[in-house]
Amino acid sequence: MVPLKPEIPININKLFEFVFPKKEKYINEKIIFYLRLYTDLVRAEDNISKSRYKKMINLLKVVRNTTKGTTFKEDELYLKRIRQISNEILSNVKCVKCRSKDCQICDSAHMKTKLQLAQNICILRILKR
């Protein structure tokens, strides 16, 4: 066996992933999972409007179901938060449909902020795979 030269830097992560390719497959599955969630969340945000809210409801239901029963147990806290955000917006659909100019409650901008939070969670999970 040839000894490693001390001056050559070793990337432990890459070495580990080379030795254990299963981890790579797991990581790829996770990236795809979060990309799918992210795409649906962006599309839901685009559909926050009086004329397209039904599409938004469907997309948020898809997001909610996707976050249930995954194999990524280490991310359960984050997935729970995304699910909470989806449920919160779904329970306020009346505000998206609302056509009253003087309504005291409706503020779709705050719904967008919440959806941005969910999107950011997805991107951060991808960054920290």
């Binding site: 409706c106 902020t113 939070l117 950011n120 991107i123 951060l124 920290k128």
Partner: protein, 267 residues
């Protein structure tokens, strides 16, 4: 080590979290208490609980858009004042004004009580950034050395020229750009990011906008903010730290973003 930092350990940034959290004072420059028309609410105790959970030392507190008091915001401003008395080492009080109504008495009262700044929300109070009556508030704040945190997020569009007008007319006014003007981010960065008395607040930015901000703006002009109760403090903090690490900021620079930059204004 923070509860979420373990997810970020890679060969590139191992150890960086320990360095960041060593002797750091974290200041959340965008938090709210009270109740809002849209039914969101947060008590001072709940805010402190959330701050403790995320190791946030101090926070600027702003009143929400109260459903019953949107003329002079007297009651919500009172609630902020009381909270800042109870948690005087933790909370930095800002009061809210509506430029459409008489604000001078409220301004005098809060100035005397020791408030540190004013929150203005052009979308909720339906005014343009350069609305003549709002200009009077900027003038009064500049004269009395009060900081203004102004909402520049959803509900606004091209705002860079207006912000430039305000900063030119009131060069000594200390201005926190709430949400960093993400609706017109490129132009806002180009036009006002080099000015002395401007700080960009990171609250509720998309991660991609946060990357842009961290890459294009001097780190001395960026300050961490969460926008709780609309956003989570721990997730906002995680987002800022990870984005800063990703774009190559050093632990010392990240510590400044987390609190050092904004604290300079309140010493």
């Amino acid at each position: 080590m923070h509860k979420w930092s373990k997810y970020s350990i890679t060969s590139e940034n191992i150890g960086i979290y320990e360095e960041i959290f060593e002797n750091v004072t974290i200041v959340d420059c965008h938090t709210h208490i009270g109740k809002d028309k849209d039914q969101h609410k947060l008590s001072p105790d709940s805010l402190i609980k959330a701050m403790n959970a995320s190791k946030v030392n101090k926070a600027i507190i702003l009143p929400l858009n109260d459903p019953y008091n949107t003329r002079d915001f007297n009651e919500p401003n009172d609630a902020v004042w009381l909270a800042s008395k109870v948690y005087k080492d933790r909370l930095i009080p800002f009061f809210r004004l509506n430029p459409h109504f008489k604000w001078q008495d409220e301004f005098k009262l809060r100035l005397g009580q020791g408030f540190k700044g004013v929150k203005l929300h052009p979308r909720s109070q339906k005014f343009a950034l350069t609305f003549s009556k709002a200009m009077k508030i900027y003038e009064a704040c500049e004269k009395n050395n009060l900081v203004i945190l102004i909402h520049t997020g959803f509900g606004l569009e091209a705002i860079a020229d207006d912000l430039l007008t305000i900063t030119k007319k009131f060069p000594a006014l200390k201005l926190i750009i709430g949400h960093s003007g993400f609706v017109d981010l490129d132009n806002v960065i180009k036009k006002i990011s080099k000015l002395d008395n401007v700080i960009f607040d990171t609250s509720s930015l998309r991660i991609f906008d946060l990357f842009d901000l961290l890459k294009k703006v001097d780190y001395h002009k960026i300050s961490f903010g969460s926008d709780i109760p609309y956003y989570d403090i721990d997730l906002a903090l995680e987002g800022v730290i990870d984005s800063a690490i990703t774009v190559g900021k050093t632990p010392n620079q990240i510590r400044k973003i987390l609190g050092g930059n904004i604290l300079k204004w309140f010493r």
